[in-house]
């Protein structure tokens, strides 16, 4: 029906004025944090990742309760014994219980990897963003330091220092952090220099918002996706880095164990005693997968333009 047929004059009140009754937010306003949480939890993958990580953490904390052995106990009766009711995951060539070692190694690796990655991410985010926002001399000096640290042979220094400390895992954290933040700081800086030209940063400055606050509220959250990726890749990379150090004999030293040292030892006997390799390998894989899933979920939750946002 497309004819121009006569219709009644509309009953729109053309002189109507908008109601002046005050409107208020009636329900409780959702805070930004709640909104982000909601968006994060909406992603199935992210929740799965969180569950896997939670199980890994539980295993590292409480796994010791399920075995009579400690990671350093030696059972001379069973050297390189396959899994049995006595040693559910078998033993290694020195007679250590693999289950107890896995619990301890996971604990060690988680603490090292998560703290190193968290510290380097925070440091690189702050240094990179502050340098970019303040500009001028501060920027030049910071970039100078970053570039200098990038060219020093950090792996050598790292190896030397950690060996001096006798493989103490706390020293390892410090050393890995000190030499680990520069590259990311540079990436953050590059991204933040483009952000500092944005109008909302200018707007904040014209409102009289302080510099540190601008960096914390406007610059860093807007490179959030990058930081999340940096952090999750950092966790995985630290486990690998620590493995590499252990391999050349500089990382965590016996009798202490980490997933890295276990993987190394297990790799030699993968055909004769596969459990020694597959137990740590499965744990590392689970950790990697959980970090990747969490990373994806966080990135989408933080990005208001992504579809997982829905109506939030």
């Amino acid at each position: 029906m497309t004819a121009n047929f006569p219709g009644p004059v509309p009953t729109v009140d053309l002189g109507a004025e908008p109601s002046t009754a005050e409107k208020r937010m009636t329900r409780a306003r959702l805070s930004r944090r709640r909104l982000y949480l909601r968006r994060f939890l909406r992603s199935k993958g992210a929740v799965a990742g969180l569950v896997i990580l939670g199980l890994l953490v539980l295993f590292a904390l409480l796994g010791g309760e399920f075995t009579p052995y400690s990671y350093s106990d030696v059972d001379f009766a069973g050297l390189t014994a396959p899994p049995s009711p006595d040693h559910i995951l078998g033993t290694d060539s020195a007679g250590n219980d693999t289950f107890a070692q896995a619990v301890h190694g996971l604990q060690r690796s988680l603490v090292i990897a998560v703290s190193v990655s968290a510290l380097t991410t925070v440091i690189s985010a702050f240094v990179g963003a502050v340098a970019a926002y303040l500009g001028g001399t501060t920027e030049k000096v910071v970039l100078g330091i970053v570039h200098f640290l990038l060219v020093v042979p950090s792996f050598l220094i790292l190896a030397l220092v950690s060996q001096k400390a006798g493989g103490d895992w706390r020293v390892l954290i410090v050393v890995l952090t000190v030499f680990g933040w520069m590259y990311n700081a540079r990436v953050v800086w590059a991204l933040a220099t483009s952000l500092r030209e944005r109008e909302y940063v200018l707007a904040a400055r014209f409102m009289g918002v302080g510099r540190v606050r601008i960096v914390l509220r406007h610059l860093i959250p807007n490179i959030g996706s990058l930081l999340v990726v940096t952090f999750t890749i950092g966790v995985v990379a630290t486990v690998q880095g620590e493995t590499a150090l252990s391999f050349i004999g500089f990382g965590v030293q016996p009798p202490d164990v980490s997933l890295g040292t276990m993987l190394n030892d297990g790799a030699d006997t993968v055909s004769s005693a596969p459990w020694l390799f597959y137990v740590p390998a499965v744990l590392v894989t689970l950790l990697t997968v959980s970090m990747a899933l969490i990373g994806d979920g966080l990135r989408d939750a933080l990005d208001p333009t992504s579809r997982s946002g829905g109506g939030a």
């Binding site: 497309t2 409107k23 306003r29 406007h218 959250p221 208001p304």
Partner: protein, 690 residues
């Protein structure tokens, strides 16, 4: 006058439909477009962004991506173009179809000289040797008004200004004498003075080649001046088609009427509120049945939602067609004699009762100058000179008053605003905000106190809102910045602000991406009002918005000004908007104010030759006026402001200068003209001879 009787159409489009796959479903970007284009005539296609104008032109040119589904027919002469393969299409493009894009830079290859690119365009389709092609290229560049074409042909695109590049693109488009020229928003990225030049060149090019022109634009003024027939598009469909005079005089479709009521007129001193069309255009995914304009239409009836009306002739000769079931009832912009759009009440500012001299000044600039270093060298930058961005700028804004700042891009408008917003002592001169000299600010606390009085609204409504913050946090930011910490108080103020700018407070816990452009700009305005400022600085606040949305924002700004007694410093390149919203206006040229006065004085009786030219370049949304009035088209582009020698800065382009005698001309070159007025009037201009 039916052109159909004179000739056959060169281009016929029938039932064109284009859709794209998207994550949300198929986007039906074009849904049944049809028109005939006759030789030598200009068809204007107007509509808001996203209405399918560009997709229509891309479909005609065969430039749509492979994943687009295209149906219908496009015939050039007798040849069907849809369904031709890439090779056949590129054969036709460039020879029979010429295209001019919005962004001339994207259409030119940066690493080749412009001459070479025109030569290439010629040689692809014509059998010309190098010399003949080069000669022809220079002729073409000369034709489109590139000064000194033989030499400039050896320049690279980046050495040209935007207007000059667009001329080059036009030269390439007409190189092979096409039968149809398609220009998609060819002047949108350009200043009004340059826009006027380019529109002239397009008409010249059309006349030279005898081609038909499809001119796509969102600017009704451009259409009024250049088109013969107009097609109005909405939601992917033509909703009205008519000869230009008929369309502007007797629109028959509520959307067209709304568009015409939404644009301010630059030639009228009357200040009635604009007619905003409420709501937003529909998404083109899963459109409901019925008229797509129904949700926004003030006169819709039940039948409107049943079936989509098609374009139906409404005039006896069939030239005028509209797609509205009530078109038969609509005449003179009214339906059965009643106004279609409710006319908003005109706000009355209380301050207007007090004479200007007795009102306190909220902003005073006196002789403010700012230079930037001119750097050269890629590795080691060294200073080779200065850019005199603004020099000796002075004006004052009284309480409850709006000063509009106008001029071509690069003339120093934004620099002036930033100098004010920085709250730092300027290189020269003085800035006083609400009576406080900014060079007297001792510490951050005092600065913050002054910032409370001074806020800014930005051009890009997306870029100015941090995408990671909710609207609540965005509106709370200025409050927190001035030291308000009580959550309760902030919450109440945020509700108030949302209400004030016409948004629903319930939506304050959403992110900016959940809002449309117009709504985001309202949020930007609410943020500026949070601290109860005396002065709001607005940098092109409506230029990123479609006309129907823009009208709502302009009305809002006018209401707020009256209600809250605000003063505005307003920058816009759309002079009609400036005229509508300002009380006073200052015209800038190359970093200097060349004329200042009340808005009616300046617009109706511009004294400075530059203001005169600038104002005459603005298109008016009335074909009658637009085609009969006299225009001053300026030569050339804005020179770069690196010269500080005395003399009038306008001398290189001044239309008055060549008409003067020798001594007077010498005076223009040697002596910098001061801002002066006749008698005690405060309508001042900086020309020795006006």
């Amino acid at each position: 006058m039916t052109p159909a009787a004179e000739a056959d159409p060169v281009l016929s489009v029938r039932d064109l439909e284009v859709s794209f796959p998207s994550e949300a479903g198929r986007v039906h970007a074009v849904r049944g477009v049809g028109f005939d284009l006759y030789p030598g005539r200009t068809l204007g296609i107007v509509g808001e962004s996203g209405s399918g104008k560009s997709v229509t032109s891309m479909a005609v040119m065969g430039l749509l991506p492979d994943y687009a589904a295209v149906r219908g027919s496009v015939t050039l002469g007798t040849r069907e173009l849809l369904g031709l393969d890439d090779r056949q299409m590129s054969e036709i493009r460039g020879r029979e179809l010429g295209m001019v894009f919005q962004d001339p830079l994207a259409a030119l290859t940066p690493i080749f000289t412009v001459g070479r690119q025109v030569v290439e365009a010629l040689q692809i389709h014509q059998d010309l040797d190098r010399n003949a092609a080069w000669k022809r290229a220079v002729e073409l560049l000369d034709l489109v008004g590139i000064p000194n074409a033989a030499a400039r042909a050896r320049s690279f695109p980046h050495e040209f200004s935007g207007g000059m590049r667009q001329r080059v693109v036009i030269a390439m488009a007409i190189a092979n004498g096409p039968r149809v020229l398609v220009a998609d928003e060819p002047t949108t990225a350009l200043d009004v003075t340059v826009q006027a030049q380019i529109l002239d060149v397009l008409q010249l090019a059309r006349a030279e080649t005898g081609a038909a022109l499809i001119l796509i634009t969102h600017d009704l003024g451009v259409v009024a001046g250049t088109a013969d027939d107009v097609l109005v598009m909405y939601a992917g469909r033509p909703v009205e088609r008519a000869p230009v005079g008929e369309l502007f005089a007797r629109p028959r479709m509520p959307y067209t009427i709304g568009l015409l009521g939404a644009v301010p007129r630059v030639d009228s001193a009357e200040r009635r509120p604009l007619l905003p069309i409420t709501g937003n255009p529909p998404l083109l995914v899963d459109l409901p049945a019925g008229c797509p304009f129904e949700p926004r239409c003030p006169i819709s009836v039940a039948e409107c939602a049943v079936e989509e009306p098609v374009l139906t002739p409404v005039s006896p000769d069939g030239e005028h067609a509209a797609a509205c079931i009530r078109a038969g009832h609509i005449a003179d912009g009214r339906v059965d004699g009643a106004a279609i759009y409710p006319v908003p009440r005109a706000p009355v500012a209380p301050a207007a009762a007090i004479p200007r001299e007795r009102r306190p000044a909220v902003l005073e600039l006196d002789g403010v100058s700012k230079t930037f270093p001119l750097l050269k060298g890629t590795l080691l930058k060294r200073r080779v000179g200065s850019v005199y961005a603004i020099s000796g700028v002075g004006f004052d804004i009284r309480e409850g008053e709006t000063l509009g700042l106008v001029g071509e891009s690069g003339c120093g408008k934004t620099t002036t605003l930033l100098e004010v917003m920085n709250l730092r002592a300027p290189e020269q001169g003085s800035i006083r905000v609400t009576g406080v000299d900014v060079s007297d600010l001792a510490d951050r606390r005092q600065e913050r106190a002054l910032r409370r009085k001074l806020q800014m609204v930005f051009q890009d409504p997306m870029g100015a809102l941090d995408p990671r913050l909710t609207i609540f946090d965005i509106l709370a930011e200025p409050l927190r910045a001035v030291g308000e910490a009580n959550r309760e108080t902030i919450g109440r103020r945020v509700d108030e602000l949302m209400e004030l700018v016409g948004l629903d407070p319930e939506h304050s816990d959403r992110f900016p991406t959940a809002f449309s452009g117009g709504q985001r700009q309202r949020i930007g305005i609410a943020r500026a009002l949070a601290t109860n400022p005396s002065l709001v600085v607005l940098d092109e606040p409506v230029s990123a918005l479609d006309v129907s949305i823009q009208a709502g924002i302009i009305n809002l700004l006018n209401d707020l000004k009256a209600e809250l007694g605000l003063s505005y410093l307003f920058v816009a390149h759309d002079l009609a908007v400036v005229r509508h919203i300002s009380d006073r206006v200052a015209v800038m040229y190359l970093g200097r104010i060349v004329e200042i006065g009340t808005v009616d004085e300046v617009f109706d009786d511009p004294r400075h030759p530059y203001s005169h030219a600038l104002l005459s370049a603005i298109p008016v949304t009335d074909p009658q006026v637009e085609r009969t009035r006299e225009r001053v088209v300026l030569r050339g582009d804005l020179p770069s402001p690196t010269d500080s020698s005395p003399g009038c800065r306008f001398v290189s382009r001044c239309p008055l200068h060549p008409a003067l005698d020798a001594t007077q001309r010498a005076r223009c070159v040697a002596e910098t003209p001061e801002l002066t007025g006749a008698g005690g009037s405060d309508h001042l201009n900086a020309c020795h001879f006006r």
